[in-house]
């Protein structure tokens, strides 16, 4: 027997990161918002020390991700092959429980390139209309990077993203990623300290390519939450 809940103005299905961001905007506007999440609430103790560092529970047995016997996917590698169920998910790990994927993400928040938002125009412009097959469905998004940039910046402030800007309004900055799309301002937090392994890798790469300093093969501080 289905339980009929009170009618709500806004229902968000799935209590992950996007739901939180949406609700954060809607509730102050006086909207009546209900978020549905199948995985339940997670206690504060689970996300704090020492439980937080329980690698077997959280990392190896993936305590925060979608359980395969609740929902999984089928897989085939060619159209004429029989699809088989993925009995253990390995690299694609949707979240489970309030917080969704944000409870086990790697904290990496790359921005899309400016050309990603107008990919068809960009490719046609660069390679000619004939370069794209007729059945290729790639499209422009209808919204541009320029329009979305303030929201990228807002998100980065909300999540305290750290990093080093490589391009502020078109002006290249030393030490940052020279290939990132332009940003309106520096990252909210300074880059993480490189680990011993990070430093060794950096010196290896820079010594391997000393004659091509413009190649910028040297690792850059990764943007992270």
């Amino acid at each position: 027997m289905a339980t009929i809940l009170k009618e709500r103005e806004v229902v968000i299905v799935g209590g992950g990161l996007s739901a939180g961001l949406l609700a954060r905007r809607l509730v102050p506007l006086g909207r009546d918002v209900l978020v549905l999440e199948r995985g339940g609430q997670r206690s504060a103790a689970e996300s704090q020390l020492p439980s937080q560092r329980d690698d077997l529970r959280w990392s190896i047995y993936r305590g925060t991700t979608q359980r395969e016997n609740v929902e999984t996917y089928t897989l085939r590698h060619t159209p004429d092959e029989d699809a088989l169920p993925m009995r253990q998910l390995v690299s694609f790990l949707p979240g489970f429980g309030v917080g969704g994927g944000a409870s086990h993400w790697n904290g990496l928040t790359w921005r899309f390139q400016t050309t990603d938002y107008r990919l068809r125009s960009h490719l046609e412009q660069r390679y000619g209309k004939a370069a794209l097959p007729a059945d290729m469905t790639v499209q422009d998004w209808g919204v541009t990077y320029e329009e979305l940039e303030p929201y990228y910046a807002l998100f980065e402030k909300l999540f305290g993203i750290s990093g080093k800007a490589g391009n502020i309004r078109g002006e290249k900055r030393e030490g940052g990623n020279p290939f990132e799309p332009w940003r309106s301002e520096e990252y909210p937090l300074p880059p993480l300290e490189p680990s011993e392994a990070g430093l060794r890798r950096r010196s290896l790469v820079t010594s391997r390519f000393p004659c091509r300093p413009r190649m910028r093969a040297a690792p850059i501080p990764i943007r992270t939450a």
Partner: protein
């Protein structure tokens, strides 16, 4: 859906005998036709051998292992992690206990594994496709490996010399120990070895890595390993907690 419903009929057929007899080799046939029964097993395999291993009783009270399985697993962890000047042995470290507890518990029972049909032999890229929980898989693989071992050396794994154990395990991992139905290399590399690794290095609250001996052996400070300020403070130096690592229990 109840767990009974989740266990499809063809899976029950399989389970009638896949598990238990160390002496008889279960014949596992993963059918290319999903509707056909995926497994046929000699009925003699249903009875579990109750003969204790001649080496005596196992070193611990096991919840999952039969005596034969305990003897095999203890010999395995003892060989793979011998007692030396660096650390105690695999058994002393609690690795066999850890594996036993994991197989008896939620992981072993496949608490999150998708175990409904169709069961077909997929390509390696399809990943795990057997109708078995990890505990059943461990048991079936161990039975097949034990049979192959007897066939080759005329004695059980725990009675082999160190050199023969080494050769047998190397061959097992390299796919050179053939079984009619189970891919024993996939079993060893995909189930046994990871369990061994977790038993050695997981937090001691799970029964392995006793006294944090494996962490101390490699100088791993335990939970404080990722404190951000320490990344700078101890960069390129041994962590001051290398010899006295902290586990979950220390921070409760």
């Amino acid at each position: 859906m109840s767990s009974d419903q989740a266990r499809s009929p063809d899976r029950r057929e399989f389970l009638k005998g896949a598990g238990v007899a160390a002496a008889s080799l279960p014949t596992i046939i993963i059918s290319s036709d999903a509707d056909a029964a995926p497994a046929t097993v000699p009925s003699s395999a249903v009875q579990q051998s109750l003969e204790p291993p001649a080496s005596g009783l196992p070193s611990a009270g096991y919840q999952f292992f039969s005596l034969d399985e305990a003897a095999f697993t203890e010999a395995l962890v003892e060989h793979m992690w011998p007692n030396d000047q660096l650390s105690p042995s695999g058994i002393e470290l609690g690795v066999a206990i850890f594996i036993d507890r994991q197989l008896a518990g939620a992981f072993g029972q496949g608490d999150r594994l998708y175990l409904q049909g169709p069961f077909r032999k997929g390509k390696p890229q399809h990943g795990y496709q057997l109708p078995l929980t990890p505990a059943e898989y461990f048991r079936a693989g161990l039975a097949a490996a034990a049979t192959a071992c007897r066939k080759r050396f005329d004695r059980s794994f725990d009675k082999l010399t160190a050199a023969d154990r080494e050769q047998f395990l190397q061959d097992l991992a390299a796919g050179k120990v053939a079984d009619g139905s189970l891919d024993l290399a996939a079993w060893f590399n995909g189930l046994v070895y990871p369990l061994f690794e977790r038993g050695a290095f997981a937090d001691p609250i799970y029964g392995g890595n006793r006294d944090k001996a494996a962490w101390r052996m490699i100088g791993y400070p335990g939970l404080p390993a990722t404190y951000a300020q320490d990344v700078v403070r101890y960069r390129g130096k041994p962590h001051p907690r290398s010899a006295t690592p902290q586990s979950i229990q220390d921070l409760v």
